[in-house]
Symmetry: D2
Subunit: 163 residues, 4 copies
């Protein structure tokens, strides 16, 4: 199954259960529950997170706040990176940049994170955030991010927080 999936984008995951590991870690991101975000796609090196419009996520003009856009884009990129990392690893964000192309108005917002380069220590990702309304889909933001593979470090391993 891994081989089938990886053929889609050329990435080969290092673990058989990458999908389970991403879902399990996502469930522990309490902030995703607060903002109503859902994990809607997990492929090797490619993850999508979706959030519906809610008034309590907006900034002063009624658009979704750039920080919330950053929240789903950062996690989409981080989990895209994590999907390719070895067992016993965890992922930390080193940095990201977000460019806002259009006001984040719409019914729902989908952040697509993709791995561009998967290195031993550093993984570089790009994220796109789309606003959807009726038939219309609009690119509202792009992210580039550097993610770091953390091996066996107590306190920041994904498994340490899984029951």
């Amino acid at each position: 199954m891994i081989n089938m999936v990886s053929q889609k984008n050329g990435f080969i995951p290092k673990t058989v259960d990458f999908e389970t590991r991403v879902h399990s870690s996502f469930k522990h991101q309490a902030v995703m529950n607060l903002i109503g975000a859902e994990l809607v796609k997990v492929l090797p090196g490619e993850v999508e997170i979706q959030v519906n419009f809610r008034k309590d996520l907006t900034q002063q003009h009624g658009f979704i706040h750039a920080g919330i856009i950053a929240t789903i884009a950062d996690s989409a990129c981080g989990y895209a990176a994590f999907s390719l990392m070895p067992a016993d690893s965890s992922v930390l964000t080193i940095e990201f940049k977000l460019n806002l192309l259009a006001p984040a108005e719409g019914d729902k917002f989908v952040a697509k994170g993709k791995v561009l380069k998967s290195g031993r220590t550093i993984t570089v990702c790009e994220g796109e955030v789309f606003a959807q309304r009726a038939d219309e889909t609009k690119l509202v933001a792009i992210m580039t991010a550097s993610m770091m593979t953390i091996m066996n470090r107590p306190g920041v391993s994904e498994s340490s927080i899984s029951e």
Copy 2:
């Protein structure tokens, strides 16, 4: 009073009521209420926003999610920029970059946004986010951001959303 304040950092606000305008706009950022953020300082070109640790703001390792750090840093930078903008203007974020220096663990988190260069169209800001616990204060993230002055544009003016 404006002159007194501006002597602190050399910026001279274009409006007498810059402080009121920032507070009024902040109140309309619904997401700030969701995450429990407060506006704790407004000077010309300098704004601070604070959020307390809450479990529902965390990522998988129990640290505050980078996207929430970005949310308060972006607004601190945006309002620092807005504090120097003319009447009838509003502010939009063009882009920001966040570098994470340390895990965001602590009791409360303070984002300090400062204007580096205030131009007619573009304002460049830098943000610092500190984690505080007991007597300890630690720099956990830095931001650089480009903000844009929007003049008299319906739908994105601050005044259009004020009662």
Copy 3:
């Protein structure tokens, strides 16, 4: 001819002579001559700049210096943006970020700049830099950049420096 070209990527240039304007401005970037860079492609919203490996462009490990990679990527993005701008305008870089994916080793380096969003004031671009050697082409860096349209401003207009 403009219509033909624009069908390739959906952008419609505002001037008939966009290609000439880009070439003319590029010729005035003296630094391009210093580093031996050439303008190899100009489409609406899409520009490529190429530089050959030269020992005097390297950093301490013998790779092309990241700043030289930034130089050709910034100009490729800037001219991609400029190709869609109106007559009597000029272009200035607001900011760019460069992520380095692999050491810049190879025989020649091609920076491809593309417009993602062309606004009245701000144009957002992405750049990719490829290293080429024999049959191999490798993505070594990515850029995201914000470009600004400057209208009729003395001292920074492209035409003021054209003979």
Copy 4:
């Protein structure tokens, strides 16, 4: 001597000869010779590089090209990071972002790179570039950068290229 120097900014170098190592590596950055850049200050975690105005470093408006500004700022940040790294290490740039605050016009340009956070693998730096003319000094650009410590890797160690 190390102790004296480190008291200035709180950083303690891991090597006695950090200054020599930085100077030695800088000499091997051939591009610095091409653009006429000089290393003018080396402290633990703090490095300055200077370049004089030259017509052949300019872009189309006669200002120094943003890529050249990036070149000296990247090296100033990289060497600031390298000054705190252990023996047998070398430094690579992961990413940087440059915000341009004002046109780079002047007689000489000084890039100041400073370490904000020195980690085992990642060092985060900020850079400032000042334009100087007569008595006037103007901040024209700021950089934030992530640098990586590379240990004992053949082909990218600083010592492998030193005579």
